[in-house]
């Protein structure tokens, strides 16, 4: 990164408002370029009549050793009209000395940003500072189209990009930058490009100049012009040897786009698109291979081949050519292995599309089980390897309808994480596989998996069983921690037994036993049944107002009546009641122990339940009131706000009491919710 300091020559093209003349150079800087020079430059880079402005065109001027310039022109609309009432477009041309841009490998976007803001003074050349671009930003944009376009430019023929009309002009400029970054920097002395060129701008597309190349977005590919469709891969015909070769090399090396671009950018020696220039470009690109590590060097994947092979696999499946299918699968497998499981951005997306479209992961009838497994294993590696992510798993399972055993097994055999493995093992309905899967994971992993949305009822049941099996002796602490982390899986268990509170209570009871053993210590009880922060003064106030016996009232009137309405089985309820009121079991009341507040609240806050959300809403007026008081230290703004507030609250002395009452009920509700976990006692 750094800053380049440039001396830029410029010209302004347009018409005098109201004039009936043609476009011409209205002003230009003194120096090596006269208005006539600029008219020639204009003619050379004429991109037709624009459909949308602004439009940025880049090119080159000069050719001698001491006389190399990059050209950037910006065409914008103006509010003026000419003699026949037509809007006047205004174009600014900038000539930048090539040697001044090479050190910092300036991008066209960076040049544009700096030049666009320039206001020329009389006929002075501009002194402009330009920040060097962030190569990683450019590297992040490398995609199929850019690789295709960069390679096609090596045909020494114009290239157009179609289907990109909807892109904003800046995106198009960035794309041009990305394409150029995939060529040695020195080629910019012979490259021209535009964010838009009319498809009927004959001169641009049929330019006679050799050893230079042209790239532009346009609407329709003119005849004889290579076209790259936006969002798609364009394979360079192998008959265009250099370009084809360049494309393959680029595809290989795109695993490390940032390093690649830096390497190419360092090649600032001017290069043309002559056969010699192209050979030098290829050499430069190949050199990047040589200095890379062994793994990268081994890659020679041909992604177009891969795509073709996938398609052919599908053809063979349909036509039952099992032998050929197996052969293809071997080739595919080898290719993926050779690649070391590396893919560049977007590559697998394309494969996945083919896989889905051609139903390669479906359970094909009449196909030999082994072959089917091989098919699925290879296809998964190509489309989703090397490691199967949970997202991909979901996508695959959604896509194939009812997944066959072969597919599930193949997926299960892929490297993956706990969620994927447990889900698949569970789906597979194979005790041994499930056992193996469980054995690989800790209790914490299991709880995490159970808590994952969307909830998988069967898996949750299996996990609860497994956790109960492991019990508190082995991993009780882990289980407790993980359960706390996920709010005791309340939501998941609700999904498991949506209708029955009784069953939910039972499952929770099993979990608590697994985590804490048969009986809860008071501290554990408090850990589970916490109160949210913020309600303490209210609770204290309510208890004080009640006076002696508040604890009993709380239990009797609030907790018991709440649980009584919950729909518990009468037996369970009686148990709850006796456990609640039995003095022998009573520990210190949760509200008496300040630590219990803190411990309990921290966890309960994390997954926000419905009650908590309600609470939050209700607390809002309160917290706003508080922030008023806090912010009133800050001066006049608050004074004004305070005045307004005073007006607003005048004559509403009852309001705080109502709020307090609501908050009180809410706090108690929350408290009661915690108690639900104890119901099965």
């Amino acid at each position: 990164m750094g800053t380049a300091h440039l001396t830029v020559h410029w010209a302004l093209e347009g018409k005098q408002p109201g004039s009936s003349d043609e476009y011409g150079i209205l002003a230009c800087s003194r120096g090596p370029f006269s208005p006539a020079h600029f008219m020639d430059i204009r003619a050379r880079y004429s991109t037709g009549t624009p459909e949308n402005l602004p439009q940025v065109t880049i090119g080159w001027v000069g050719g001698g050793r001491q006389d190399r310039w990059l050209l950037l022109s910006i065409r914008q609309s103006s509010a003026e009209t000419d003699g026949t009432g037509r809007a006047i477009a205004e174009t600014r041309y900038f000539c930048v000395p090539y040697e001044q841009v090479t050190e910092h490998h300036l991008s066209y976007e960076a040049l544009h940003a700096a030049l666009e803001a320039c206001e020329p003074v009389r006929d002075e050349p501009l002194a402009v500072s330009v920040e060097a671009p962030n190569i990683e930003d450019i590297a992040a944009r490398v995609g199929l189209e850019a690789i295709s376009a960069a390679a096609l430019l090596l045909t020494d023929e114009p290239v157009c990009v179609v289907g990109g009309e909807a892109l904003p002009w800046l995106e198009r400029l960035r794309f041009l930058d990305t394409v150029f970054s995939l060529l040695p920097y020195g080629m910019r002395t012979r490259l021209s490009a535009s964010t838009w060129t009319s498809s009927t701008a004959g001169r641009w597309w049929t330019s006679k100049a050799r050893n230079e190349c042209r790239l532009s977005f346009t609407k329709h590919a003119p005849e004889g012009v290579h076209s790259v469709r936006w969002g798609a891969l364009t394979e360079v015909s192998s008959s265009r040897h250099d370009a084809h070769r360049y494309q393959n090399l680029l595809v290989d090396r795109c695993g490390q786009p940032t390093a690649l671009i830096e390497w190419l950018a360092a090649g600032t020696e001017p290069m043309s698109f002559s056969p010699d220039g192209r050979a030098r470009a290829l050499a430069r690109l190949s050199e990047f291979t040589a200095r890379d590590d062994a793994a990268t060097r081994a890659i020679s994947a041909d992604q177009f081949t891969m795509e073709r092979l996938l398609n052919e696999c599908a053809d063979f499946l349909k036509s039952r050519q099992d032998g050929k299918l197996a052969e293809h699968l071997d080739r595919l497998g080898n290719m993926v292995s050779r690649q070391g499981g590396r893919f560049f951005t977007g590559e697998q997306r394309r494969y996945q599309e083919v896989i889905a479209e051609r139903q390669l992961l479906w359970t094909w009838q009449d196909v030999d089980d082994d072959l089917l497994f091989q098919l699925h294993a290879v296809i998964l590696k190509v489309g989703y390897g090397p490691k199967l992510s949970a997202r991909n798993m979901d996508e695959i399972l959604d896509g194939v309808g009812s997944p066959g055993r072969s597919l599930l097994l193949a997926m299960l055999r892929m490297p993956s994480d706990a969620v994927v493995r447990l889900t698949l093992a569970c789906r597979l309905d194979d005790k041994a596989e499930l056992r193996r899967a469980f054995d690989q994971h800790s209790a914490g992993d299991l709880v995490n998996v159970a808590a994952r949305e969307p909830y998988d009822g069967r898996l949750i049941q299996e996990i609860v069983d497994e956790l109960a099996r492991r019990g508190s002796a082995e991993e009780g602490l882990d289980i407790a921690g993980a359960l706390r982390e996920h709010n005791y899986l309340s939501d998941a268990i609700k999904a498991l037994h949506p209708a029955s509170i009784e069953n939910r209570t039972r499952v929770l009871r099993r979990l608590l036993v697994a985590a804490y053993g048969q009986n809860l210590e008071p501290m554990e009880f408090a850990e589970i049944v916490g109160l949210p922060p913020g309600g303490e003064p209210l609770l204290a106030a309510a208890i004080l107002s009640h006076g002696a016996g508040a604890g009993e009232t709380l239990l009797q009137t609030v907790v018991l009546s709440y649980l009584g309405n919950a729909g518990l089985d009468p037996t369970t309820f009686m148990k709850v009641k006796s456990a609640l009121l039995e003095p022998k079991l009573g520990g210190p009341a949760p509200s008496d122990d300040p630590e219990a507040y803190e411990d309990g609240s921290g966890n309960l806050n994390a997954p926000e339940g419905a009650v908590s959300r309600i609470l939050r809403k209700l607390r809002n007026p309160m917290s706003r009131g508080r922030s008023v008081r806090v912010s009133s230290r800050h001066g006049h703004l608050e004074e004004a706000a305070g005045l307004r507030r005073q007006d607003g609250s005048g004559g509403k002395d009852w309001l705080p009491y109502v709020l307090l009452a609501i908050l009180g009920v809410a706090v108690v509700l929350f408290f009661v919710l915690g108690y639900e976990l104890l119901k099965s006692l």
Partner: protein, 338 residues
């Protein structure tokens, strides 16, 4: 409208020729509409996607009431003029006098160059590259559509500038080599007097009694008979501001064979028709209205200060192209596809 590749490779170049703002692009834009409005034996189709798209899009633009934006840089289009594959006797002796049988649909390929008008002028700022390319194109072309903009002639009087310079260069290049015994250029020249819908043009024609109405025309549009078009041209040259527009006439006579010049009184947008009455009204026929100027954000790129008021009824827009096509066709030894 998809091209039929290979069957009609455009091989005849037509160059548009006219001062800036004379309406070259608007004329081209109205071609499609002219086709739809008028029944005739000829169609124009794009020979490639961009050219086909141009016809469609620009006619949509005009139908929306917008004028095409000023041509900034040279554009080229490739079209095919396709005749009617009808019973041969109807055509016999009329357009193409050729052998009646077989009668394939006649096709004429047209490559049309639409340069910014300024390239024809004598402006120091015009690039040599541009002018050379234009001249090369003129040399190669067989037909020229010269747009004479009487309004510009009234106001600026410089139509001559835009014609003469290029004409002399062209003559030098072609006649110097000389297979042209008669000392005339081999081109066919369609002189289009544009902006017939403008008050001043229509009134000039009216004053000179050149207006007629085709009794079969349901709209009753005034028109200038083909044989009177040249008279109107002379007349308009006389009222020119510079006074040397008569030189235009002389120059044309001097460089082109008489049977290869034809005059057309054209209007790309035509006259305004009240949608209810649907008949030409001499009291109210202007079809071009100023756009609202209240837009403080500035005009959209290419937006014009004017818009089209009603529907577009192109006048004599197809005809110059068809005439040139016929010229090409007739000059071809075997009037097949050319």
């Amino acid at each position: 409208m998809h091209p039929d590749p290979g069957s009609a490779r455009p091989s005849h170049n037509i160059a548009m020729w006219g001062a800036p703002g004379s309406g070259k692009t608007t004329l081209l834009a109205s071609l499609s509409i002219a086709l739809m409005r008028r029944r005739g034996p000829w169609k124009i189709i794009g020979a490639d996607d961009p050219s086909a798209e141009f016809l469609e899009e620009k006619s949509l633009t005009l139908s929306r009431g917008e004028f095409p934006q000023a041509t900034l840089d040279m554009e080229s289009y490739r079209w095919v003029l396709v005749g009617e594959p009808k019973a041969p006797e109807r055509r016999r002796g009329r357009l193409f006098g050729g052998p009646p049988k077989a009668a394939p649909a006649p096709r004429v390929g047209i490559s049309l160059l639409d340069p910014p008008g300024g390239l024809y002028g004598d402006r120091g700022s015009v690039s040599a590259t541009d002018q050379k390319e234009l001249l090369d194109n003129l040399v190669q072309s067989r037909g020229i559509v010269f747009l004479f903009d009487p309004i510009r002639e009234f106001d600026n009087g410089d139509a001559f500038d835009y014609l003469y310079r290029a004409l002399v260069q062209l003559a030098k290049q072609i006649l110097a080599g000389d297979d042209h015994g008669d000392g005339k250029l081999p081109h066919s020249l369609a002189v289009c007097i544009t902006k017939f819908d403008d008050r001043r043009v229509l009134q000039t024609a009216e004053r000179d009694g050149l207006l007629t109405v085709d009794p079969d025309d349901p709209h009753g549009f005034p028109r200038v008979e083909p044989e009177d078009a040249a008279r109107l041209f002379h007349r308009l040259c006389e009222v020119s501001r510079s006074g040397n527009a008569d030189l235009v006439v002389n120059a044309l006579d001097q460089y082109f064979r008489e049977d290869r010049i034809r005059f057309f009184v054209t209007s790309s947008i035509g006259f305004y028709l009240d949608p209810e009455r649907n008949v030409f009204d001499a009291r109210d026929f202007q079809n071009m209205v100023p756009n609202v100027t209240g837009n403080q954000q500035g005009l959209k790129a290419g937006a014009s200060k004017f818009r089209i008021r009603g529907r577009v009824h192109p006048i004599n827009v197809m005809e110059p192209m068809v005439w040139l096509g016929e010229q090409f066709y007739n000059s071809q030894p075997n009037n097949g596809t050319i």
